[in-house]
């Protein structure tokens, strides 16, 4: 069994006053950044590569590699930017907000290291519009860091100017997509950009920009505390470190947990340190493993390790670590309808398949759920989803950004893996779960 014995990312969350600069510094805060700043930027990037740190925002992209895509200053003399993605809006995901609330200086220390490594003198933290409290904590932390001389003209006393700004989103999920985020930062409508070029080459205001998730950057001080090798060894395969996951749905102990890369899904759901199993008499029917956009898993697929690459054979993904458990009395049609509604509502509206397709899928799902659907409707539903992003395999999206996939993958995986639920609705001409479609969880909306 693999339960994490020592917390790494959440290590200090319980400490009173941890979100203040004084307490943070009392316990060695900003020492790791000072240490890192002794190194040269390429050395820092090498360390990050060695640590096997991978992006925690959804795609699991190797962070050091992403940084190395930024062109050298003689090839592109424009300023560089770091943008922190704190938009955390993927349904089922709540981890970045707790970093902001409980340990904001951990992120800021990570920013100091990253900006120095990237030769970026400006960092924007793009935080979710609804994050009223977490943003206020972060604002205070930034102000304190300036007042303490950490940021500003001389980063931690070094001859390197760094300015850090928090920018609040306005409540659009799409602005978490990295290029929509950049558009939004530029004051424009949050419309994802065509890629390539990728932000590392042409990003904010046309300048090279690295976009990283909060958790990703917050891991940096740990890497420089105990070494890249230690961090890499902590993980599994090509995924260094530990992960924060958010467990929700029909489990006895939902919450945000730190897990080892080799912890399995089953352990997460059933171990008493984590989910502590399902309520009496219930069994697992399905698990969404990485935020609602990740293709769903069945009860037979729970031996998967929570490491990034482990989900590939299952044609799903570790995503943003939002894990949603559904028990045997959950109506999969109702669930999918709810998921589809989210993506229909959040589509930015640029690409036709996503703009028109997501609402169509929603309407068809409603029709089926309400007992008015036919088998042709089910086929049409799958067709629309396939036109947006055929699945399996994962990663063949036909749209400008992955929100298209995010809406299309759940549809195809739900229908393929839980076809019986759909056919039952059609033949019974009603929902077989009656007025209790949400299983043991009950109606939550």
């Amino acid at each position: 069994m693999s339960v994490l014995t020592e917390k790494v990312m959440m290590r200090d969350w319980a400490r009173a006053g941890q979100n203040t600069l004084s307490v943070y510094k009392q316990h060695g805060g900003y020492a790791q950044a000072k240490k890192a700043l002794e190194l040269s930027p390429p050395q820092i990037i090498d360390e990050v590569k060695k640590s096997q740190l991978r992006g925690r925002g959804g795609a699991g992209f190797p962070t050091g590699l992403k940084w190395s895509f930024v062109p050298s200053i003689d090839k592109n003399p424009k300023p560089r930017y770091l943008a922190i993605n704190a938009d955390e809006s993927e349904p089922g995901t709540a981890k970045d907000r707790f970093i902001l609330e409980n340990d904001p200086h951990l992120l800021l220390e990570g920013i100091a290291i990253a900006c120095y490594a990237l030769n970026a003198h400006t960092c924007y933290i793009y935080s979710r519009g609804e994050f009223k409290y977490p943003s206020s904590v972060l604002d205070k932390a930034i102000a304190d860091a300036y007042a303490d001389g950490i940021f500003g003209k001389k980063l931690l006393g070094k001859d390197f100017e760094l300015n850090v700004y928090q920018v609040r989103g306005a409540g659009a999920y799409i602005c978490g997509e990295e290029t929509a985020l950049l558009e939004s930062l530029e004051g424009k409508k949050g419309w994802p950009r065509l890629k390539p070029p990728f932000p590392a080459v042409v990003g904010l205001f046309g300048c090279p920009t690295v976009v990283n998730n909060v958790e990703t950057i917050a891991a940096l001080p740990r890497i420089f505390e105990k070494g890249a090798q230690w961090f890499s060894d902590l993980g599994l395969g090509k995924s260094g470190g530990t992960r924060l996951v958010t467990l929700s749905g029909t489990v006895n102990q939902p919450g945000t947990y730190e897990v080892a890369m080799n912890t399995t899904m089953k352990e997460l759901i059933f171990e008493k340190e984590y989910g502590n199993g399902l309520p009496e008499g219930r069994s697992v029917k399905a698990v969404i493993p990485g935020g609602s956009s990740a293709p769903v898993l069945t009860a037979d697929e729970l031996d998967v390790k929570l490491e990034f690459d482990a989900f590939k054979p299952l044609q799903s993904m570790a995503g943003s670590g939002g894990i949603i458990v559904m028990d045997d009395t959950t109506c999969m049609v109702r669930c999918l309808w709810r998921v589809a509604r989210f993506y229909a509502e959040e589509s930015c509206g640029q690409c036709t398949p996503c703009r028109e397709g997501q609402p169509w899928m929603t309407r068809l799902l409603r029709k089926i759920e309400e007992g008015r659907g036919t088998e042709e409707d089910l086929e049409t539903l799958t067709n629309v989803a396939q036109a947006i992003a055929p699945w399996p395999p994962i990663g063949l999206g036909n749209t400008i950004c992955a929100l298209g996939d995010a809406g299309a993958l759940p549809v195809q995986s739900f229908v393929q893996k839980f076809k019986k639920d759909f056919l039952d609705h059609i033949s019974l001409k009603r929902c077989p779960y009656g007025d209790k479609p949400w299983g043991a969880l009950g109606e939550f909306r």
């Binding site: 065509l194 509206g349 036709t352 703009r355 067709n383 063949l396």
Partner: protein, 946 residues
């Protein structure tokens, strides 16, 4: 009807070629070309809706997906660059299914009233539905089918029917990328995304009605009202806009002889598919009821007009002119050519004067705008024309814009300029007024040098002073390319302390530090270009200023390649051409002096007539002579001197003193009130010919419909000439061009065949440059070595003082054109129903004026009334108005001061007083009375007066 070909994505400039295979066909394309365009070049149409080749690829409709060997998935061909060796498949079962899927989604949300839709047969959504074989829509009619969405009909020329919108964003992108106005956006997200202006409707928005969005729209959502009324066009003729000096190429799309719409042509090299509200929409004047369709004569101007046959009109006019010459001498008659008419027509009028009237009393209205350009650039560079093509501005790093307001007066050039500025080029604006380009979406001038009217030369000298005294002269360029002696004396002169920004500040009012910074910016740019307009030329020192700019450009090495130069933004469509064609009293075509024996002999030989070697009278002199009783007959081709020339009362006095004034025009204009013979003219839609734009580009004008009065303008001049006994027998304007080519060295290579072949050419076009000359003075100046000229600043005599404390300057506005003869007869009046006077709040406050007040504008020459608009666009002490409407006659108050070298009138500076008025000025009242009296047509006449 065939649409103009659409490759889907923009051409790339790359010289490198790549070879790829599309559906088994090999095709070689420039590197960077999209797979979509490569397929199109291979003759294969990949379905597409969001892409069009005037816009950057957007990749949103997801119809153009293809499969590429060795690549995962189905990439969008519009956003995938073609690569060497690529093997592309555009038609596979998988792609067909995807495309049908997308079309099904589109159509599920569409009204499907195709048969009654105004775009039926001209709709890309229909085309793609057909191409992918869409046969069923499985989503029932659960769709939104926004059928009830209200239609926006506020714009006079096009409608916005959002029920048909497929949210492809082409309109939004066209407004941004092509026009640069940023009036549109997509509001909302997901399925509720919709096109919006940010205000109630199009008319109340930032929209300038250029029509780029209408052209880009693949559906009937944005559609011309003319198409809605008349139906889709069936034929198309390529022609050239007859409004401004940009000279946009158009496709006149017609049903038989009826124009349905004008669509800017991508083949038009001045505009590359873009246009402004005038050219695209304001062509309705051509068939306006005010058009005169019969020749008319009368004995006295107080008599009513009598309609006669063409023969009678010609005979009468000829008899009158011969009578006048018999009793008052050969020099008592003359002619005025029009910058609105074709080169061929202008050429014929000056030929008529020189060979038929036997004098050189011919002049052109270019006198009132750009004669200083011709003079100044000829002295310094050796050619009376701008140095670049418009496209060149895309290579400029710093643009110095002087006395020009391109967003209003040269909108299509302004769009090019704005595009370059958005790419990061820097702009310096030198203008008394805060013109739009000083700050507009995504454009902000680095410097606005808000000089006092009349102090251009002071400013240009100050700029040059900085260049010379701060060591910013490009020594090598000057050494190699310019006359060293002239440079030395100029440098010595310009370095004098009196020319320093600090000393000149007293005259210009521009802080010296700003001038210094702007000079450095201009001088240190890799490519710096000067563009200028009437704000430079219409001054007492207009020619000096043109030379001052030429000096500055030479000193900084900014002449003779892409992205630099000294470029006039010419007002009327054919000012360049009318000057080239020998419209000036002292010059034969190609700017050769009449006193040059060899040149004269060449003409005399071909024309078989002796020519006078004495320069003739300029317009102001003709009028002076008329008032003095020595000048009695005038043939005025397409020009309303009674409205557009300065000091209107003097012009009227001159006209009234003549015995036979022949007006040849579309309408009974102001001048016609004083005419004895009226020849009805033909619009650009009614004839063949050529126009030459501000970049020396000669473009074809092609006949779309028969002349309403039976004869095209060139035929009218020929008829008159024949009545005077000249043996002319041109069958077609192309024969006139042949004659021009024989007689004019810079035109020897020009012919209608060449123009058909190349689309257009920029003169010089001859053996040395058979396809024309986009950029002049490349290795050497036309005159050999560039010549620096001394440009002493001499303040104008027109000064504000206690009686006339304000300075009036004049200009134009986007929707109207010159004296408004055309635009005022179209729906363009929606935007500019009357001329208004802009007054700074400070001056308004002093006089107790507010926006909307009727004010009296008085100068030492006269007075007029108009409404005031209080705005900070003008600086304190300066007032501004346009001169588009006859009613205002702003030129009543402008004086007869003029450029020392060319007599170009000083429109841009007049000392005035402004006060609250209760009734129209005396001149206007008198004019209104005469308006009725002098325009009467005898009973039974068919046309209505305005």
């Amino acid at each position: 009807m065939n649409r103009e070909r659409d490759l889907g994505t923009k051409p790339t400039g790359s010289a490198e070629q790549v070879k790829l295979t599309v559906d088994g066909r090999e095709v070689t394309v420039p590197k960077g070309t999209s797979v979509l365009a490569a397929a199109s070049l291979a003759g294969l149409q990949i379905p597409k809706l969001c892409a069009t080749d005037s816009l950057e690829a957007f990749g949103s409709c997801r119809l153009c997906l293809v499969e590429i060997d060795g690549r995962r998935g189905t990439p969008a061909s519009c956003t995938t660059p073609a690569e060497a060796g690529m093997v592309v498949h555009t038609q596979t079962p998988r792609l067909l299914a995807l495309r049908r899927g997308v079309m099904e989604l589109y159509v599920s949300d569409h009204p499907l009233d195709c048969l009654t839709c105004s775009a039926n047969g001209d709709c890309e959504l229909q085309d793609v539905a057909g191409a992918v074989g869409l046969r069923e829509v499985r989503y029932g009619n659960d769709g939104e089918q926004h059928r009830t969405a209200p239609k926006d009909e506020s714009n006079p020329y096009f409608t916005f029917d959002s029920s048909k919108c497929i949210v492809c964003s082409r309109c939004v992108r066209a407004c941004e990328e092509v026009q640069g106005t940023f009036a549109l956006t997509i509001e909302g997200r997901g399925l509720s995304s919709k096109v919006a202006t940010g205000t109630d409707d199009f008319l109340s928005s930032e929209c300038v009605s250029c029509g780029a969005c209408v052209q880009a729209c693949p559906t009937a959502t944005l559609n011309e009202k003319s198409v809605i009324t008349l139906g889709t066009p069936t034929e198309a003729v390529e022609t050239t806009c007859a409004y401004c000096g940009v000279g946009c190429g158009f496709r006149a799309e017609t049903q038989g002889e009826r124009v349905v719409r004008m669509v800017p042509s991508k083949r038009g090299q001045a505009n590359e598919g873009h246009s402004c509200v005038k050219g695209r929409f304001a062509w309705g004047y051509a068939t306006h009821q005010d058009r005169v369709k019969k020749p008319m004569i009368r004995a006295r101007i107080t008599d009513p007009w009598r309609e006669v046959s063409w023969d009678e009109a010609f005979a009468h006019a000829a008899a009158e002119f011969r009578r006048i010459q018999a009793s008052h001498g050969v020099d008592a008659i003359g002619g005025i050519t029009s910058s609105r008419c074709t080169n061929e027509e202008v050429f014929l009028v000056q030929k008529l004067v020189r060979a038929g009237f036997h004098n050189n009393n011919v002049d052109t209205c270019a006198r009132v705008c750009h004669s200083p350009t011709g003079y100044g650039l000829k002295q310094t560079f050796g050619t009376s024309a701008g140095t670049q093509d418009f496209r060149s501005v895309a290579q400029a790093d710093v643009v110095l814009l002087i006395g020009a307001n391109p967003t209003e007066a040269h909108p299509v050039f302004a769009s090019r300029l704005k595009r370059r500025l958005r790419e990061g080029a820097k702009l310096i604006v030198a203008d008394p007024r805060r013109i739009e380009l000083v700050r507009t979406p995504h454009v902000e001038a680095s410097h606005h040098l808000a000089l006092k009217p009349g102090t251009n030369v002071a400013l240009i000298n100050a700029l040059a002073h900085v260049v010379v005294t701060e060591g910013l002269v490009k020594e090598r360029y000057v050494q190699e390319r310019c006359e060293p002696k002239d440079f030395e004396s100029w440098a010595r002169f310009i370095a004098e302390a009196k020319n320093s920004p600090e000393a000149m500040e007293a005259h210009t009012g521009v802080p010296a530090a700003d001038v210094r910074a702007a000079a450095r910016l201009y001088a240190t740019a890799k490519n710096a270009a000067i563009y200028y307009g009437l704000g430079v030329t219409e001054h007492s020192q207009g020619s000096t200023m043109v030379m001052g700019m030429a000096n500055l450009a030479m000193a900084t090495g900014n002449v003779g390649r892409d992205g630099v130069g000294v470029n006039p933004l010419r007002g009327q469509n054919n000012v360049q051409g009318s000057c080239d064609m020998g419209s000036f009293p002292h010059e034969l075509s190609g700017y050769r002096h009449v006193s040059d024996d060899a040149t004269r002999e060449l003409f005399e030989g071909l024309w078989n007539a002796p020519l006078s070697k004495e320069p003739g009278l300029r317009i102001p002199n003709m009028l002076d002579e008329a008032v003095g009783g020595r000048f009695k007959g005038l043939y005025v081709q397409g020009e309303d001197i009674a409205q557009s020339d300065p000091n209107t009362q003097h012009v009227v006095a001159g006209l009234e003193a003549m015995e036979c004034v022949i007006v040849h025009d579309l309408f009974l204009n102001e001048t016609a009130k004083y005419a004895h013979v009226f020849f009805p003219g033909s619009s650009f839609l009614e004839k063949d010919g050529t126009f030459t734009n501000a970049e020396r580009r000669i473009s074809r004008v092609r006949k779309v419909m028969a002349p309403l009065a039976g004869l095209a303008d060139w035929e009218v001049t020929q008829g008159f000439a024949r009545a005077l006994g000249l043996p002319w027998s041109y069958q077609h304007p192309s024969e006139v061009m042949e004659e021009i080519a024989v007689l004019t060295p810079t035109f020897t290579g020009v012919s209608y065949e060449r123009l058909d072949q190349l689309g257009s050419v920029q003169w010089p076009c001859n053996d040395k440059a058979p396809t024309g000359t986009p950029i002049m003075h490349v290795d050497r100046f036309v005159r050999g070595k560039g010549r620096f000229m001394l440009t002493e600043f001499i303040p104008t005599l027109e000064k504000s003082g206690p009686r006339f404390p304000l300075l009036l300057t004049t200009g134009r506005i986007l929707s109207q054109y010159n004296v408004g003869a055309q635009t005022a007869r179209t729906d363009n009046v929606t935007w500019h129903a009357e001329d208004v006077l802009e007054v700074h709040p400070f001056d308004a406050e002093n006089r107790g004026l507010k926006t909307g007040d009727l004010v009296l504008l008085q100068s030492r020459a006269g007075e007029t009334t108009l409404r005031a608009v209080v705005t900070e666009k003008v600086q304190p002490g300066v007032v501004y108005t346009t001169f588009h409407h006859a009613k205002t006659a702003a030129n009543v108050v402008t004086t007869d001061y003029s450029d020392w070298a060319t007599n170009c009138p000083e429109y841009k500076v007049t000392a005035v007083q402004v006060s609250r008025a209760s009734e129209a000025a005396a001149f206007q009242q008198e004019d209104r009375r005469r308006d009725v009296a002098l325009r009467q047509v005898a009973p039974g006449a068919v046309h209505a007066s305005k």
